[in-house]
């Protein structure tokens, strides 16, 4: 796989995975507190 393709895929996947982790984990923690 070409480096440029891998870089774009890693960037897009990274943004989504980090976003999902932050949003869902914070939501579940906040839900438990309330």
């Amino acid at each position: 796989m070409k480096g440029s393709a891998l870089a774009f895929m890693a960037l897009a996947w990274g943004i989504i995975l980090i976003w999902m982790y932050l949003a869902v984990s914070k939501l579940l923690k906040a839900g438990q507190k309330s």
Partner: protein, 522 residues
């Protein structure tokens, strides 16, 4: 005010909302759009549209839904009316209520009337894959023979609609929430299994064809292909994938408590949808098809990819029966968890506006969908897979109307409701503080972006001949009457939707309309 049903758990709500957003388009539309609009470079306009258009409208819809739910409404007519009267007199606000109610009613009846058929096809193909029914056969001819067999079509379509009806009849917390708590994890596991299969295929046919090459084609940035047209395609994909402009996010959000978070929940829903679309959806259909069919046949979308290209692959793949069944089960569940939201919208409409109890309402909607879906079965152009009736509905109700309603979402929820009220509502019970610089994005950039998308789509439709008496896609003019049946149905449903919304508003707020001043205020 009578007590409405509410989501029982936070995880149930988020899975239901994610299921609502995740649909067939995540798995068969996104990878094709990316492949033909710049590969990896497509992600630039895609993420721009996601942050400037998708997230703001998603928030607007969550805020709208929770606000309507506070007054006992889960449909858009009365909810838009209540928000619009913050700026307008009730008799003017009712116009916006009618517009919102009309579009949401049209989308949830007509879009679902053909979407349910595709869900039925997915159910059928799950069975056909598990039994190897299409193995060794021409996949185009097999699909045509299936569509021509009305008994089979009715069986799988009717079964899917009946299951939806059962889930909706059981209620929101005891029905929909329980169903999605099972279906959504299964959907994610099925998708992950297919991604693992995709990554381990190697080069089964030719050394230069492999799933990794498919990934490379999908992700290699081709900046020259990123144009205004691809930016429009990205914005359209965002609308479609997040189920915006349909009234169903608002309907689900109406079952929140008045102080329940919407800001972080909206973001979490979007992230789960994007995980299913970009990471899972982008790693299954096209890479798998690429390994077996090469670049010319693999770069496809929609029915052609799911029901024609991929069956050809599964019949040649080791374990093809199992993986074919998993693929179509994935489509079935993805479609089911979106269709259930549209089904619930209409059931809520009967329940709240006509005081019909939920079980009876769900049964009426079941019959309604069977009647509205009949033209898809009777359309003779299914024999050539042209499906004029379905195509015409999809072009207008399934694509164009979503953007129109999305624009009204912002006009009503942000501007007529007043930006400060919207901002306050967004932060009511919020688990996060949305930075102030995002407010101008929601107020100005999102509506301008939507208007540009709408104008661009209108121009594309004009060039494609969609406004003509016989649209540009019709290759057999002798069957153009099926296009007109679809247009007649759209007109009828739009008028019915507007009347229903007006009567629903009038029934509850007649005194306000008579005096033309706001009386009911919580």
């Amino acid at each position: 005010m009578e007590q409405r049903d509410r989501w029982a758990t936070k995880i149930g709500l988020i899975l239901a909302m994610a299921g609502n957003a995740i649909g067939l388009g995540n798995f068969w539309r996104f990878p094709y759009q990316a492949a033909v609009n710049g590969g990896g470079a497509f992600m630039i306009p895609y993420f721009v549209a996601l942050f400037l258009l998708g997230v703001p409208i998603m928030w607007a819809e969550w805020v709208t839904g929770r606000y309507g739910g506070k007054y006992g409404h889960g449909t858009l007519g009365p909810t838009f009316y209540l928000m619009a009267r913050e700026s307008l007199k009730p008799r003017s606000a009712v116009i916006f209520g009618m517009i919102g109610g009309m579009f949401a009613f049209s989308v949830t009846t007509l879009l679902n009337s053909y979407y349910l058929h595709i869900i039925g096809w997915s159910a059928a193909y799950t069975y056909f894959s598990a039994t190897g029914a299409y193995f060794g056969k021409d996949s185009v001819e097999f699909l045509i023979s299936y569509l021509s067999n009305n008994t089979q079509v009715f069986l799988f379509w009717g079964l899917s609609v009946a299951l939806l009806g059962i889930a909706v009849a059981q209620g929101v917390s005891k029905g929909i929430e329980r169903w999605v708590k099972v279906m959504m994890p299964v959907l994610y596991v099925a998708a992950i299994l297919l991604v693992l299969r995709s990554l381990t295929l190697g080069s089964p046919v030719k050394p230069e064809w492999s799933s990794i090459k498919g990934f490379e084609y999908l992700w290699e940035p081709r900046f020259s292909e990123v144009t205004f047209k691809s930016a429009l395609a990205a914005a359209g994909q965002i609308f479609f994938t997040l189920s915006l402009g349909m009234g169903i996010i608002q309907n689900y959000a109406s079952y929140l408590g008045p102080e329940d978070d919407v800001a972080l929940s909206g973001l979490a829903t979007v992230s789960l949808n994007e995980f299913a679309e970009v990471i899972l959806g982008g790693s299954i259909a096209i890479p798998i098809a690429f390994a077996y069919l090469g670049p010319e046949k693999a770069i496809a979308g929609g029915v052609g990819l799911a029901y024609i290209a991929l069956p050809n692959v599964f019949m040649n793949m080791p374990g093809g029966q199992l993986f074919g069944a998993i693929w179509f089960l994935l489509l079935w569940f993805a479609g089911f968890t979106s269709a259930i939201a549209m089904y619930n919208y209409l059931t809520a409409l009967l329940e709240e506006d006509l005081k019909i109890n939920r079980r009876t309402g769900a049964a009426i909607v079941f019959l309604l969908y069977l009647i509205l879906g009949l033209p898809v079965v009777l359309d003779p152009t299914k024999a050539s897979l042209d499906l004029y009736y379905l195509t015409e509905l999809d072009n207008w109700v399934g694509s164009y109307l979503l953007v129109v309603l999305g624009l009204f979402d912002i006009i009503v929820a942000v501007w007529l409701f007043k930006p400060d009220n919207f901002w306050e509502e967004l932060h009511k019970g919020a688990y996060i503080n949305v930075p102030g610089w995002i407010k101008p994005i929601i107020m100005y950039i999102a509506p301008i972006y939507t208007i540009i998308l709408l104008l661009g789509s209108t121009w594309d439709y004009y060039k494609a001949g969609y406004f003509k008496a016989v649209p540009g896609y019709v290759g057999a003019p002798e069957y153009a009457n099926w296009v007109w049946y679809a247009r007649g149905m759209m007109l009828f449903i739009l008028i019915l939707g507007a009347i229903e919304a007006y009567l629903a508003i009038k029934k509850k707020y007649s005194e306000e309309l008579a005096k033309n001043e706001v009386i009911v205020k919580l």
